[in-house]
Amino acid sequence: MQETLPPLLQETGIPLHEYQEIVRLLGREPNRLELYLFKVMWSEHCAYKNSRPLLGLLPKDGPAVLQGPGENAGVVDIGEGWAVAFKIESHNHPSAVEPVQGAATGVGGIIRDIVAMGARPIALLNSLRFGELSSPRTRYLLRGVVGGIAHYGNAIGVPTVGGEVYFHPAYQENPLVNAMCVGLLRVEELKRSRASLGRPVYYVGSKTGRDGIGGAAFASEELSEENESKRPSVQVGDPFMGKLTLEATLEAIRQGLVEGVQDMGAAGLTSSLSEMAHKSGLGLELNLDRVPRREPGMTPLELMLSESQERMVLVPRPGKEKDLEALAARYGLDAVPVAHTVAEPVFRVVAGGEVVAEVPIRALAEAPTYVREGREDPAIARARARDLSDLPLPQDLEGVLPRLLATPNLCSRSPIFERYDHQVGTNTVLLPGRGDAAILRIKGTRRAIAVKVDANPRYCRLAPRLGAMHALAEAARNVSVVGARPLAYTDGLNLGNPETPEGYFELSETLQGLAEASRALGLPVVSGNVSLYNEGPSHRIPPTPMVGVLGLLEEVERRAELGFRKEGEFVVLIGPEGGYLGASEYLWLEHGLEAGSPPPLELALEARVQAAIRELIRRGWVQTAHDVAEGGLAVALAEMCFSYGLGATVELRSQVRPDALLFGEAPSRVLFTVDQTHLHPATKHLEEAGLPYRILGQVGGDRLTILLPKARLEWGVGDLRRAWEAPLREVLP
């Protein structure tokens, strides 16, 4: 026995101490198939070995929470019997290998998670990170990823309503592709991944092929030349089958045919079936001979590890088996009872009449966790500490704005979102580009939801804890400035190797920051995803906690968009005029520096600013509002001119250095417009709330004019707009 071990360990990549633990749990040596079951179930992707203890820091409860982390997606109550399921998920490595299919299957996978909760998907968002836009590889990846998202989302008929894209050199070797989906359900139709004793477990959907063998494990490994050869066979998304599987599953739920639902995602049959049984406190016996296959000659190992797409697990209610089969047949789908639950808490796999694997179900589900020592990368501490007060002032302040608007991180995203169907379903109230968050109305009610996903890589790289706090604050602010009250969030944590002190430090700081911001803003996490080991040979990605916040508008008519709409309205700023240069986009563009500390964030103030703008919108006084983010006040004002081509004249009085005044960044700042009639009540409300504000000027004309204490700057809105629109259009014509 001893001499056969090393090759198997080498082949699976399981570390010796984990192998010893497996032997202890089994009370014997595992066979090859069993060892592979452990390999995938104990992968970082499935088991959260390094993140689980830290995830415990996040608050998970709140008045609106119907389902927190632990299921396929989180669910919040939005009133009138309706609930919303949402989750974000990464598909970074598959997208790096094959951008079109990687992104497409990422979208398909997150949609199935939402469907598994009994919810009809109503919106998709995505969060993308690439290396520098000028690099040919980035362009290839960007085109492919956007194409893949469009291919899947458009065809399956779920609108892609929002997202974010950043370009940063540290993502050059390891791009990030995270997809978020939001679904709508009736509270009473909420489904979980459960089965009762003795029930048949049905496999519904597409056939199983040799797709993405070992993908879950692959997703947890660093990309290197060496494991190029380990490339799994590419998973191909089939939105057509995806659509049929979605409709069949939702109809089965609506007709009361099923008691439990689970999607088959990473680690396919192995993870979906073993986790479902484990959550149900039961065991399960799987008969591989029944599994529908696409190719002849598939081995038990291949069947267990296949990540073929468009497959679901449904557990029929007693007596509804035939109805379920008939329903699936109507959609032309396979529906086969491949397994059944058993009392004995084991995961048993049968093939050709023989037991080919049998392991305690707990052992699979409860991988060891690790708590490590973190240490900050001293180079990052040095960059953060850098004194920026001696930076020269730009010669040509006026010239900075069009350049800033044309940087890859701030330029118009319309060449991307034009390729996504953002209206199918006829619920999209605020289209991409029109507001800081997307708004979707709930048919048959006056309600609507707002969603936005955010994370600033510069902030997170320079100060992981503060950066994570910013990510949540900003996503929530975006939801608030359209008028919605944030209810909860989902988080996609994308980081580097946690086994290095620097990587672990970033992971732990990120979670502590998120936890602190969650508590201060009163926002629980209801779902999320962790993707570690995102690094290439020479770069670790910046910690990237993509935070997707979901909010509620009680009356969809009371909302705000970001564009100036009415001549003569007053432009008001909540918060201070001056911003910080540290970690700003301006600093990178004009000085080539990523340095300094991200702006300080006072969470209590942030919460009050958000409450105030929501209140002004709710009262019907404000219909235009925009948060001041990257690029500072000047960029925010310019963006407000673009929707309708209306300019403004504003005056800034602060004595801070003019570049910090115009382009410095700071949280807790919101610009809004208000007409003469409501100016006084609005400002009075801000005074009563004890918030700093200033009336900056008025909307009008086709130029943006900014008066500074010692200068007058002026731009044609059309000129700014052209600068803003060009860069991505060149890549995505």
Partner: protein, 233 residues
């Protein structure tokens, strides 16, 4: 008056069409593509989406669905049939409308607002519009470039079968950019010779409520309703 909204596998604007039809008070029902009869329906809508995944060619595989026989029968008897986006592609593939819809010249799916001019108001689909009225409607397609040979195009023009044409935004400077897909003669929608089968690429059902950003699509549904009210049941 009952309107059938045909669901092909992969249709995804079926619910949206249903919603818009019901909004103007029409009795609309979903009909699965395997249905062998449209008895009792006075109109059919072929909605947008990706029937059969749009594999091979948009609309190419849906034309074989059993329900298409019935759609053809309804059309032959003079009842209104509307194909929106993918529905338009299915109608051309099935030969119920002339021409074909090819890949957009920009080679990618495009979702945005466009303007179109109403060329004819004496139809069951356009009576609520004014002649020459310019509508603002969303498009969302990858294969919308209308193509027909010279002869067919000429016949379409002579018979006034072009119902909607892409046009510049009102008050805009104009230019060639108003045509989003390269369709010949700026065609956005056509009818058959009988004037009872309409195919159009833009999505009127996406512009039926203020909250969605526009109501220019409503006219089509009101027109249909008015037309159905005077039809023999």
């Amino acid at each position: 008056m009952r309107v059938a909204v045909v669901q092909f596998p992969g249709s995804n604007c079926d619910q949206d069409a249903l919603w818009a039809l019901r909004l103007v008070g029409l009795r609309a029902e979903l009909v699965w593509h395997t249905e062998g009869s449209l008895e009792g329906f006075q109109a059919a809508v072929l909605p947008g989406g990706f029937s059969y995944g749009d594999y091979l060619r948009a609309g190419a595989l849906a034309k074989f669905s059993p329900v298409m026989q019935e759609v053809r029968r309804l059309a032959l008897r003079g009842y209104p049939v509307v194909g929106i986006c993918n529905g338009f592609q299915v109608l051309t593939e099935a030969g119920l409308l002339p021409g074909a819809l090819l890949a957009n010249t920009n080679l990618h799916f495009t979702c945005k607002e466009v303007y179109l001019r109403v060329e004819r108001t004496d139809l069951p689909f356009t009576s609520a519009y004014a002649q020459g009225q310019v509508l603002r409607l969303p498009i969302a397609h990858a294969e919308g470039r209308y193509y027909a040979d010279e002869e067919t195009l000429e016949r379409l023009e002579q018979n006034r079968q072009v119902v909607f044409r892409y046009a510049p935004a009102p008050h805009a400077a104009g230019g060639p950019d108003h045509n989003p897909n390269g369709s010949l003669h700026d065609i956005a929608g056509i009818v058959n010779e009988g004037g009872n089968v309409l195919g159009m690429m833009p999505h009127p059902e996406r512009a039926v409520e203020e909250v969605l950003g526009g109501t220019d699509g409503l006219g089509l549904f009101w027109s249909l309703k008015a037309a159905l009210e005077v039809l023999p049941a």
